[in-house]
Symmetry: C3
Subunit: 386 residues, 3 copies
């Protein structure tokens, strides 16, 4: 028992090295690099995307990491385990996504893979928010491996089979990660909860550290929603729409927080989380020609729904469904992700995008929720046994 | 009263959505995007500027936000209200700047607008520093709307009518924001001060959080001063000059802080603020051909003046003028902004720039101070009534 | 005595201004800027590198700064003196590197110089980690001047005379900075240690602040190792290799930390530091065609060695060699830098790079260690006298 975690971590790293040795190589299009061509070269595209990658990287390691430091006794766990999970997840994400997409060829590793690898870790980090304080490092390690495999499978289904569109991954990352985490939290309910309750408080300073996470997530969300968009107007729109959706969301989240909090005060949990719901909700249709004001409407709705979720739904989940959602990921990622999927259906009905159909978007949303819940339920017990 | 803030915030967001629906659309030059042209395309320029935008974005939300967390009881207010004010301000800034500059056409929203929208929020955040601890969220909301309107008017006057040059906005943002805030602080003196005094202390950890703000502002200031400069050598110079001005400023600020502090120690308030004065002071002539050593001279002077301001001027303002400047914005933004304006006049006299004339630069400086003071005085009482 | 620090700081800033006035000018290739050329122009290259520069800038000022805040009483010193040292060091680095490389011409200041200036400050900041809590600001000021001169001399020897390759500066920055700091710490042992011991504790919150430094260093290390690489595939590889080396290093560092810590727990010092060793160790061969899995092997080894160094070597250094290494820079920078140098020799043996020879790489490693130790010993006593 004493050596389970270190040996598993070392064993997994050895396995990753073997997998990379067998299946991965540098992107070879670099060898065709022509310094004098008139088109945008691979090299230039690399440098266009590299800052967006670094923004996403900050979101994953600073944003998610510090957002989870709000509990007074789990600050170091929050940011430390976040680092561990993401470092493991990105290696595994490259392999599992690469194998699904490379059709038997070697995986060509370039800027797009490492962006997607960072994305795939986000699902686990979202689920981690639901189970924070209830799990050991070894349980997180197992969850990372299983959840990223399930995520990659669902993403392949959504993108390649359904040919649905989900540029900011509202459904495939946010909704998926939230419902996976909720399913695991439901399984873990009996054993871990009472202990979790005792430490379920924040302090003044732990709340300040959490705001570091909030603010960096808020700032760089436009890069998250646009990093893998088509260059040109679509990528531009993804940035602009996310910028405005987030700004609108802040106003409605502050307003609703004051409305539902005793004495009209602001609730720190709402400010830390619901202000970000606009980034999630605009994700699926971020690159569509929806107009900035529609992005603001989506963000406004997400801010309202997210605060109401924290106020009314999370306590209800804990009491009635016996699902204890530590960070309230259902309100920040689950519901806003569903809003994102529904918004894309409305946008397609209104003729704002021809990239997908109503049926395929609905299938993508259903698949993301369904795979997540089944995956989470199957993952939960395996973590109990250790 | 209990519902004033949430209803005003929701009402303003609805108003913003209506204004964006009526007046804003995506930048349409994207539709002419030609992947094979030999010139730098709009798409490439977008990606050149996007990292600079994100740097400015970090300054606004992390930099200004955490810089204001130094008071032991206002940490959460500092970073939280900062987020709210900036999220509202950027939407309103787009509209008001767009209407002034678009000559009746629809506002074309691209990378330049969102950079300028972030800039326009900076004025309010600077003024917020003067009144921190003395205002309610609803007062900040009103100040945001009024100050950004006044800012946009003055900026139009300076840029379009006077045709003055102020690339890093030393006059139009920093000086303007500082004097606007001071005027409001003067109006608010009677009611708010005694309460403010009791909590006017920092703690070890609140000072550390404030350093997060300081350091991120310091790092990304070259992006602030160069984001809207002409591409090529001017933008390059704006970056290089700001980099050196800030470095020089750190040395003189540390030296002066040790000189004027009991026992030769360093004063945390000086380190948190005066080290940034070089970024403000070099702003107006950042893109001029002034030579790096002149940028260092400007930064050195700013560091000295800023520390002396904190030591001697701020207490004097509070005692004699009955203006209580919580964060000392007069020393970080007010005086260094004036130095910036004066430096541009010297640079023009020395033949370093033909972009403007002495008279127009002087008019710009005068207009920025005058509009700010009048605007602040008119805004102050309206905030009292609520 | 009371005025030594401020007068020296002011005097040095005046000296820097004079040196810049005499020797520095803006990069003039900008005057040849042709907007219609088909090649990547200087302007485009500037914007490709500027985000990487800003990443390095964040590492220097936020990363190194906050990493040194883990001691309960030196948080403000850590981040404050870090700012002072880096602001002085970057000005001096420009001059000393410029004089060595410009062959009597004026120093042309562009993006590459300011990246290299930031790099040169890293050596002093690494050494600062070894002497943290044992030195006054004035001692740091002298060390900055002397160490950067020694660094620039060694770097010239390694790069120009030996023509060795060290793209991520594992040897010339990390190993050099660590051994320079250790030599100084050895000289300072008698006087400073007992006092240092009393305050040599971290608190919950000081450890959280240090994690801010860790995470930002971890995130942006790919930019550090690639910023001055050849554009195209080499720069791409430097990014990809560093990304994977760091990820692998996190797993082995967590595993070893749990293995060597009582009760299988994680040790915060290991997590804060050893997780970064992979970035150091992969530096020298980051741009070589070594394959991603080899980068992961290098990172894995670095994580193991670094934790073992903290556990066994640092206490031994303090007890036997009378060298007290406050932050354990030998384990984060010294040993991993040596691993980096050795890895480059293995890579050359395996035919992965023709940029250098075994002998020249060995000479570079020896020169970096030797110059550092001699320089540190010569610097140490001069700091005692003040």
């Amino acid at each position: 028992m004493r050596f389970s975690f270190p040996l598993m971590a070392l064993g997994l790293e050895v396995a990753m090295i073997v997998l990379f040795g067998l299946f991965a190589e540098y992107e070879t299009s670099w060898y065709d690099y022509q310094p004098n061509t008139t088109q945008i070269t691979e090299s230039e595209r690399f440098f266009q995307l590299y800052p967006l990658f670094q923004d996403v990287h900050v979101m994953i390691f600073v944003g998610f990491g510090f957002l989870m430091t709000f509990l007074k006794k789990y600050g170091f766990s929050g940011v430390g385990i976040n680092l561990f999970v993401a470092a493991l997840g990105l290696q595994w994400g490259i392999i599992i996504q690469g194998i699904l997409h490379s059709h038997g060829e070697k995986i060509q590793i370039g800027i797009k893979n490492i962006i997607n690898a960072d994305f795939s870790t986000a699902t686990v980090l979202i689920s981690f928010g639901a189970v924070l304080g209830k799990t050991s490092p070894i349980q997180m390690l197992i969850m990372t491996i299983l959840e990223i495999a399930a995520f990659a499978g669902n993403e392949y289904l959504v993108g390649e089979i359904f040919q649905a569109t989900d540029i900011g991954a509202s459904m495939t990352i946010h909704t998926f990660g939230a419902y996976f985490g909720l399913a695991v939290a439901g399984i873990l309910y009996r054993s871990g909860l009472r202990k979790g309750h005792r430490n379920e408080e924040s302090t003044y300073y732990s709340d300040m550290f959490a705001m570091i996470g909030t603010i960096f997530l808020w700032i760089f969300w436009p890069s998250f929603n646009s990093a893998i968009a088509e260059p040109g107007e679509e990528q531009n729109r993804a940035i602009v729409n996310t910028y405005f959706s987030l700004a609108a969301c802040v106003l409605t989240a502050f307003a609703l927080s004051s409305l539902v909090t005793h004495g009209g005060k602001l609730n720190m949990v709402h400010i830390q989380n619901a202000t970000l719901a606009g980034g999630v909700a605009v994700g699926t249709c971020a690159d569509m020609d929806i107009s900035p004001y529609v992005a603001m409407i989506i963000g406004s709705i997400a801010g309202v729904v997210s605060v109401l979720g924290y106020k009314f739904l999370t306590p209800c989940f804990a009491a009635k469904l016996r699902i204890h959602d530590t960070c309230g990921v259902h309100n920040l990622h689950g519901l806003p992700g569903v809003i994102g999927g529904l918004a894309s259906i409305v946008a397609i009905v209104m003729g704002k995008s021809k990239k997908s159909t109503i049926a395929m978007q609905a299938a993508a949303l259903g698949s993301s929720i369904g795979t997540a819940i089944v995956g989470g339920i199957l993952t939960g017990p395996s973590r109990e046994r250790i």
